[in-house]
Symmetry: C2
Subunit: 306 residues, 2 copies
């Protein structure tokens, strides 16, 4: 496989001002892999219970599930959340970890040979354990969340030292470094070891920091956001999926990958769960990539102002 993701596979219950949807496929590995599957061969390391009936979604997108453990007498991780009109903030209604509580990622030999690895938002010791099983991976990226920053910061920092790309949002970057200015926070985080840092800014877009460069893009302009759940993992799936499709993982590829990530995330929020992304066509994806080019392009100055 070209790309491996370790993370949660869940059943989500989501309430928004526009409706409610119960027990739909969710979790970081689900959103990530469905998004990445449009670009590359992707495979999941995760765990589900005997109640899991969404296998056909993964099959329909040719997503590898040999390392998706099934615990017949257990229940799949469930998460419930509610969004108010301000769709930037998710209010968690319940979290039933179920089989995910004792999740120990197990990688088959085939999985360990994946070229790229994405460590979804799980406990940082587990992330590090997986990373160490794949010392030859060409590029490893990591996501995290406020919970791990608060309770397992030291472990998280150690894990970050061992990856190439960190993908977090602006609040997490500030919280993790204790630095309010985002540019300074980014420099601090990069000094820990990663080659690149992606900061997601929701409706304001995203930025890619490397040791030598800065790249920033707006979000796709949406007149309505229906369900933001999974937007971050869908972004990461587009980003890593596109990179896995490329021979050279240079800055130019990373920048295009940022656009594809944003494209996928912009589709994700248009409907509940993974519904919109699952139905996508490559023509739709490419069209939206070109829309990003149109909305960010400006001409060089024909002659210098003097």
């Amino acid at each position: 496989m070209s790309l491996l993701v370790v993370g949660s596979v869940a059943y989500d219950t989501v309430e928004t001002p526009f409706g409610k949807c119960d027990k739909m496929l969710g979790g970081s590995a689900s959103h990530f892999s469905i998004s990445a599957s449009f670009f590359t061969n992707v495979s999941i390391v995760g765990v589900v219970g005997g109640d899991f009936t969404e296998q056909e979604v993964f099959d329909s997108r040719s997503i590898g599930t040999n390392d998706l453990e099934r615990i017949a007498d257990g229940k799949t991780f469930r998460w419930g959340g509610r969004y108010e009109y301000d769709l930037n903030v998710a209010h968690t209604l319940f979290t039933d970890l179920n089989v995910f509580a004792d999740f120990q990622p197990k990688l088959s030999d085939e999985s360990k040979r994946s070229r790229l690895l994405f460590l979804g938002n799980i406990q940082p010791d587990l992330q590090r354990g997986v990373r160490e099983q794949m010392p030859d991976a060409e590029l490893v990226a990591l996501d995290t969340m406020n919970l791990w920053i608060e309770h397992t910061r030291d472990s998280l920092v150690r894990t970050i030292k061992g990856v190439d790309v960190v993908i977090i949002n602006d609040a997490e970057a500030r919280q993790l470094t204790g630095i309010p200015n985002l540019i300074k926070a980014a420099r601090e985080l990069l000094s820990w070891g990663p080659k690149a840092l992606i900061i997601k800014r929701g409706e304001y877009g995203a930025a890619l920091f490397t040791h030598e460069s800065y790249f920033a893009i707006p979000a796709y302009p949406l007149e309505s956001v229906f369900d933001p759940t999974g937007a971050g993992d869908t972004f990461a799936g587009g980003f890593m999926g596109y990179l896995a499709s490329q021979e050279k993982l240079d800055e130019s590829a990373m920048r295009r990958a940022m656009i594809f990530g944003s494209v996928m995330a912009s589709f994700n929020v248009e409907e509940f769960g993974t519904d919109r992304v699952r139905r996508l066509t490559h023509a739709e994806i490419n069209d939206r990539f070109r829309a990003f080019k149109r909305m960010t392009h400006f001409d060089e100055i024909p002659f210098e102002v003097k």
Copy 2:
């Protein structure tokens, strides 16, 4: 003259966590004209009191002040503000309108022949009065603020109907239209008549909406912001000044003007008041324009994803 601005000329007292500066040159017309002066001939319509001693600043930048009225026995407009560590929010400490309280813009015949007009943030009846004295202006832009949206909304909407470009921040766009989603709010505002709308998003950059297109740019990444006072007017000065230097005011010119506006605003916040912008060189301005190109450019997809 190529460009005329009507607005305030003031003495500002600003406190930030990094220091305090008393009685420095401020006001929308000052920030605007100093910024615009790097691109074009610009002239001010405004009023000052007998205590005004900053004329040499305008002279040193060749800014026209024939229509800057002097009321010998009056005092110049004074504003005092404080910023906490969150430099996005200004806390007004005092506002002494002084001679500005009875400001009635008076345009000389030469001023009325200006090609472009910027209506700084003053009462919308006054803005409309000036606009109506220049029916042949090629492009008219307007700024406003929450005070006028709250207390003189009907007049403001009438004024907006008569201009080409509205330049406001995201909170103002939402407040003015009553629409939380920025893209919908922009569409509503454009339906009132303007050809273009620029929404300033502070540290997140700015966006240009027209009836046919959308263009968004990040802010220049700054590790420290010293004094944000006047950043919006400095942006507008760079935007309008660059446009005034161009023969064709088409979308391509507007996009480059957005970059020059952002460039000038990014310098403005580096020091107190107008200090940094006054000292700029064209080489510094052009360098930062090229930095914007580097930080937003991405390659087309070499072949389509399929």
